[in-house]
Assembly symmetry: none
Homo-oligomer: 468 residues x 2
């Protein structure tokens, strides 16, 4: 078993210097991983997913990790344990699979032929997966490499889990975590799959919204009718659905499902002040998509709407004839897909039932309603009073021009919820992505600065966790 290395400033400085010197080689390693088209959702790329997993396993083994692949019904898990015997134990999570690349014609280069490009905003690594998540997960691997190279071992006990199905709904993850809980449980999870607040300001995502997806299908007449022959006398399910959807929000933008706000906490004054200091530019954020006015609850800032307030959105709806031209049909069915983003302690199961009651109360005698239940997961709120959070925040602040912030995240990162509910551990979500990384879109990129300073950030965080 290795010695635990020193973690004082001088020791850390040597690690940071090594990272700087090793950057060209680190970039070559990242490019090698990016060349493997590990698209998880399409069976055509199954072998490539396995190749990416094996590449990572081999790299970690080369660093001295006890690394292996665990088969799943889908793509393999890479699991590795470092050699340090002392200090807190962290489990680092990332995913080696990537999104499909279509529409391919919108890429200006082969998505699996990575290159460093000069852009007006700086140098970037261009490839599918550069930011999501290969570039991000390699920041952690490179930080480990530098610590080991410089001091022979890591300052904390490190385990690593790389998944290969994140972009296709992680079907194997929950059973795997349940089966391997004893092996994988650590003091804290580290997740690198999020972004900076802005290019100067690093962020630790401590509030992730949950998600509740629900499909509603209203049936009126048994079959589509002619709106002339039946219009007026026969109940139109599209009209019923429109009224239900319209009732979901009041004029103030509040969601009208009874009990919806019961478990929604107000922001603490401290967090509110922190967020205000961030100087979020709502105008620029909305302006980028052609909008001007925050559309949620009146009296809330755009940042609150995105990070700390629950939402109800219509993601899809359809009824009757939707092709070109016109058809005077009185439809038999009308349906909508609706999702709720959840915060605080909102309970997805309780709200699903409340929503269904809300709908049923608005379905007239001549219509029937069916529900299709889609995904449900609660919000994750990290216990930021855990000393690791403040230690990591200080470490990040040392690396970047501006003070790091605890932020929210409008999207849902289910892995953080699973780590909490299955393994009983909080997650420290730190990532170096930028808003313009084109995740899931053509021409995905990762800034060279994100890769370099991200690696340095993890080197600092590992030292800080050892000292916390």
């Amino acid at each position: 078993m290795s010695q635990t290395p020193p973690t004082d400033d001088a020791a850390l400085a040597r690690v940071l210097d090594r990272i700087d010197a090793d950057l060209p080689a680190a970039l070559d390693r990242l490019k090698a991983l990016l060349r493997i088209p590990s698209i998880s959702t399409d069976p055509a790329w199954r072998e490539d997913c396995a190749r990416a997993a094996e590449w990572l396993r081999g790299d970690l083994e080369g660093l001295g990790f006890a690394a292996r692949l665990d088969a799943t019904p889908g793509h393999p898990m890479v699991v590795a344990h470092g050699t340090a015997g002392q200090g807190p134990h962290v489990l680092f999570y990332g995913h080696y699979d990537v999104q499909p690349v279509d529409p391919l014609e919108l890429w200006h280069r082969d998505p699996f032929d990575p290159a460093v490009e000069d852009t007006p905003a700086g140098r970037v690594i261009r490839a599918r997966g550069a930011a999501d998540d290969k570039g991000q997960l390699m920041t952690f691997v490179e930080a480990c490499r530098a610590w080991i190279a410089e001091h022979g071992s890591l300052p904390v006990r490190v385990s690593i889990l790389f998944e290969g199905e994140e972009e296709s709904g992680s079907p194997s993850l929950v059973p795997y975590l349940k089966a391997k809980g004893d092996e994988l449980k650590a003091d804290l999870a580290l997740i690198c799959d999020t972004g900076m607040f802005d290019p100067q300001t690093p962020a630790i995502s401590t509030m992730l919204r949950g998600l509740l997806g629900q499909e509603v299908i209203i049936t009126g007449p048994e079959r589509d009718l002619h709106s002339g022959m039946y219009g007026g006398a026969a109940m139109n399910p599209a009209r019923v659905l429109a009224r239900i959807l319209a009732d979901l929000h009041d004029d103030e933008g509040r969601i009208q499902v009874p009990g919806f706000y019961d478990d929604v906490p107000e922001l603490s004054d401290e967090l509110r002040a922190q967020w205000e200091r961030l100087g979020f530019d709502a105008e620029a954020f909305l302006g980028a998509v052609g909008l001007k006015h925050p559309a949620g609850e009146k009296g809330r800032t755009a940042l609150e709407m995105l990070w700390s307030r629950p939402t109800c959105e219509i993601n899809g709806m359809t009824a009757g004839y939707t092709g070109a031209g016109f058809k005077t049909v009185l439809p038999s069915k009308a349906s909508a897909k609706i999702s709720f983003r959840l915060v605080g302690r909102q309970d997805p199961a309780k709200l699903r039932a409340a929503f269904q009651d809300f709908v049923r109360a608005r379905v007239p005698a001549d219509c029937k309603v069916e529900f299709v239940n889609h995904s449900a997961g609660p919000a994750s709120v990290m216990a930021t009073d855990h000393p690791a959070f403040e230690a990591a925040r200080r470490a990040l602040s040392d690396e970047w021009p501006r003070e790091a912030a605890f932020v929210g995240c409008g999207g849902s990162i289910p892995i953080a919820g699973y780590f909490k509910t299955i393994l009983g551990m909080d997650s420290l979500l730190v990532g170096f992505g930028r808003d313009d990384d084109q995740l899931h879109s053509p021409n995905e990129k990762y800034d060279l600065e994100s890769f370099h300073k991200g690696t340095r950030s993890w080197a600092r965080i590992l030292a800080a966790l050892a000292r916390a």
Copy 2:
């Protein structure tokens, strides 16, 4: 020029006998027409529309009509003039185009492979267009065929106009009627595109609702967004649209567009009494499509809702992701197709403007709205004191088990309005459809009895008009 044939009972009896004997051949002709997929709304079927027109032209020419096709910017008009030189002049109208067939998977046979099927309610001809309108228009053609075969010519002067754009809003019709008014104007129009009051009771439709079709497209963000990243802060156009659609009716079922009821007359006591005598079975009418409760304005009978009250129906709506599964998209656009059935002197142009104002008043600052104007035609109310109406009513009553009735019609037959306003002639609307014909729906059919006795009915009406 042919001799005008005798129109006494014996002459008519010979024609009716010939119709009976010729039924199998008549059915074969109808099937040949039904095999042509003349869907007018979709450019993919343009050639087939032309084929259907040519089929009809050729058939009429074979009967001795001077028949031709007139090109239009859309599908051609079939126009034909019979050879009889005496008596009143009638213009018969029908349409050879049909509705689209989707959803195709709900048909139990190929919609364009017609067949006679035995059903518990009798024998039917099953195909798209069997009732609307190919089967109906062929009842008139077959009646002419029998008169000509038996007596060498027709008892009245007959012109024929078959349109190919009725199911797509008849964009070429008005300019065509204006250009050809002198040629097409007759004493009376005959239109076969309506139904029986019930399977025993033939009907002459003397009140037709008008139609106003309108598409509304609401745009919010410039592109589809991720509902996690933007949900709550970005305006969702589906939510805006749902509120507009929900606002269209109040809780009493009345339409909320300002001024909507200004030109809607109350029924006369006389007509109300006539309609009450019909003994309309609202329960059976709605029960046939799985419904129980008249859904229109409170305090109105179902027959009023269908024949003499205006309506507003959502014919189609769509937004966001409507495929299988779930996608957390915040859509950029949401759209609906809405139609109004008009009565009395409601003005389509005035109501279109009022509706657009109603929508604009409900579009928030961050959304924009576009309108696509679809067809618009006022209601038609016939002058039933014209002696032809009573003569036709008696002729129909001779053919069917029960006395024929003057009825209203929930659908819109804009052609009747155009004949009145452009050519200055009333329309005698007689048709043999039944409520369960599945017009515009999968598995459309026309009863063999409708086809057979319908042909006999026109043979009788032609004689009656000659004697009126």
